[in-house]
């Protein structure tokens, strides 16, 4: 019997395209948001510990590394929110058709960038300009 010419490991051969980029981005932003959750808890605990501790915590939160995390966190929030809504519609059985999935994918990606920029301006002043 002749061996059919079939791919043996399709997961090694998938073409990189924006659909799987958007998919892995949902995961990456989820991980970033989980890290930001610990910053949120730290911020709340500091606020509960009085004005001095709170001021010290704001200085820590304003440090370059945490600030970078929170900027990434803001984008992650926007993207995970928009793409998450997309996922919820899929789960309900809507929006699977390729043209629609393409459109909503672009909408989530571009919408996230725009929303991040808007929130950056709105939140820029709060938390010592962290956002």
């Amino acid at each position: 019997m002749a061996q059919p010419e079939r791919p043996l490991s399709p997961f090694m051969q998938y073409r990189w395209q924006y659909t799987n980029t958007l998919s892995i981005l949902h995961r990456i932003t989820g991980i970033l948001l989980s890290l930001c959750f610990f910053v949120l808890v730290y911020w709340l605990a500091a606020a509960a510990s009085g004005p001095e501790r709170y001021a010290a915590a704001l200085a820590t939160i304003g440090s370059p590394l945490v600030r970078l995390l929170l900027i990434g966190g803001l984008f992650s929030f926007c993207y995970h929110l928009l793409n998450g809504i997309r996922h919820l519609f899929w789960d309900a059985g809507y929006g699977f058709e390729l043209p629609i999935a393409r459109k909503t994918g672009w909408a989530a990606a571009i919408g996230a960038v725009v929303l991040t920029a808007v929130l950056w301006i709105v939140l820029g002043a709060s938390l010592g300009g962290v956002a």
């Binding site: 989820g30 949120l40 808890v41 709340l44 606020a47 001021a55 789960d91 709060s126």
Partner: protein, 129 residues
């Protein structure tokens, strides 16, 4: 008739019977977080420049804000646990390491959530700034 192989049954392979519950919880918490997340971003904006301590205390003194903050902390921790669990299950193939990491993840998120909840309650029931 079972479609599972005898070997697979003996080795305990296959469904752990908890998949649909995990899946459903992730969606329900996601819907809740759409509301809670937007509320939190709006609240942050309303705290004003530098988010002064008095503003944060005043904010969480409102029963509505306190309840929303408690929900945000608890449901975010739950949703993060469900999501990170899937990530770790996908990428950690060694069963022992995976178990240790998944238990550590649960511990970390439960501890963080309780610290956050206690902080919100302390502010909500504490003195007005």
């Amino acid at each position: 008739m079972s479609l599972r192989s005898p070997l697979g049954r003996v080795l305990g392979l296959g469904s752990a019977k908890g998949g649909s519950g995990h899946w459903y919880s992730q969606r329900v918490t996601a819907v809740a977080l759409v509301i809670l997340g937007c509320w939190f971003i709006a609240s942050l904006a309303l705290l004003g420049a530098g988010a002064p301590h008095a503003a944060v205390v005043g904010w969480l003194h409102s029963p509505f804000s306190a309840v929303m903050a408690l929900l945000l902390v608890a449901i975010t921790a739950y949703h993060a646990q469900l999501g990170l669990q899937v990530v770790f299950e996908d990428y950690i193939s060694d069963k022992g390491t995976r178990l240790v990491v998944l238990v550590a993840l649960k511990f970390a998120l439960v501890v963080a959530a309780l610290i956050g909840i206690l902080a919100v309650l302390r502010i909500a029931f504490g003195a007005q700034a």
